[in-house]
């Protein structure tokens, strides 16, 4: 039972290692793209079957976005980013529930020892993925903010001149907010990575100890945690987007 913090490389193309999480990301993206293309070609005015499910999920997400932004036009602007983050993260979190986690793989020789490199590893259990997603959220928040209220006003939120009313306290608070923005990257990436990686380790250990029936509560817990973490990531992105496009209150 080997648990490694970093994603294990399956093979190398030239000098670049192809890790198992990279393969899972590609498979997941292909799955989502093919599903959307099939739905788009067979779209009907009165939905039946799978189209019904997808429509209800998207409507629930749009209502969630509406409840935070209180403005339908703004929701339409934010919806693609937030919904994509939610759907991708929830599917990648639930990969760890597929039977075969950590056990089906290749035997490879790494640093002289033979270790098992598993095929199935949850995409969010790779710090590269969560960091990339956190950077995407961070830069989208900045771009949406600048596009909505202009670069000068947006920079004015962080760089408050000490000559106006709150004097030096205003400058200090602005600097703190700037640091807080960069701390969001670390917070986003580590929250998702920590939750999903810890869940994977828990599942591997439990299934290793007692393979039947006893791990059921832990599987339910992981199902729930995967859903909540996806929801939290999407909603935090949404809330920060909303805060970035509103003008500073005075």
């Amino acid at each position: 039972m080997e648990i490694s913090l970093a994603a294990e490389p399956l093979f190398h193309i030239g000098n670049m290692p192809i890790t198992n999480t990279l393969v899972m990301t590609l498979l997941l993206s292909i799955l989502i793209i093919i599903t959307s293309l099939i739905l788009k070609n067979k779209i009907k005015l009165v939905p039946k079957g799978f189209q019904n499910i997808v429509e209800s999920v998207l409507e629930a997400l749009l209502n969630l976005v509406d409840s935070v932004t209180q403005d339908r036009k703004q929701s339409n602007k934010f919806f693609p980013l937030v919904a994509t983050i939610f759907i991708f993260v929830i599917l990648s979190n639930w990969i760890e529930l597929i039977p075969g986690l950590g056990t089906i793989g290749l035997h490879e020789v790494v640093h002289g020892k033979t270790v098992l490199v598993p095929f199935l590893r949850s995409v969010s259990a790779d710090l590269n993925f969560t960091l990339a997603l956190a950077l995407i959220s961070f830069f989208s928040i900045q771009f949406f903010g600048i596009a909505a209220i202009g670069a000068v006003k947006y920079a004015g939120k962080f760089f408050v001149s000490p000559l106006h009313k709150p004097y030096f306290i205003g400058t200090f608070v602005g600097a703190l907010e700037l640091i807080g923005e960069t701390a969001k990257i670390i917070s986003f990436s580590f929250r998702l990575f920590g939750n999903i990686f810890a869940g994977e380790v828990l599942l591997i250990v439990m299934l290793n100890l007692v393979p039947y029936i006893v791990p059921l509560p832990f599987l339910f817990l992981e199902l729930f945690v995967g859903f909540i973490q996806a929801l939290v990531f999407a909603m935090l992105t949404l809330v920060f987007l909303k805060m970035a496009v509103t003008e500073a209150a005075h």
């Binding site: 913090l5 917070s187 929250r191 920590g194 380790v201 909603m235």
Partner: protein, 87 residues
């Protein structure tokens, strides 16, 4: 008296044991703060839902967001513990 100090063997723990104890302490102490924090958050949210059941969905949304923030701190401690143990 002095002769007992000559050739005294230095006692030390081996690295694996120290790593395990370090990981355990990191996670254990790191779970106290967020545990208390989430308890206080949830209790205040329950109180306000009880006083004003119409505002349930607003309070619930804000509560889940705040709980995610506090839980992240426990996750930081978990990541430190995992790094100590496995890296």
């Amino acid at each position: 008296m002095k002769s007992t100090w000559v050739g005294r063997k230095e006692k030390s723990m081996d690295a694996e044991a120290a790593k395990s104890i370090g990981a355990a302490i990191a996670m254990g102490v790191g779970a106290i703060g967020p545990g208390l924090g989430i308890g206080i958050l949830a209790s205040k949210a329950m109180e306000s839902i009880g006083r004003n059941p119409e505002a349930t969905s607003k309070v619930q949304t804000a509560m889940i967001l705040a709980i995610a923030f506090t839980e992240a701190i426990a996750i930081y401690a978990l990541v430190v513990a995992l790094i100590i143990k496995f890296v």
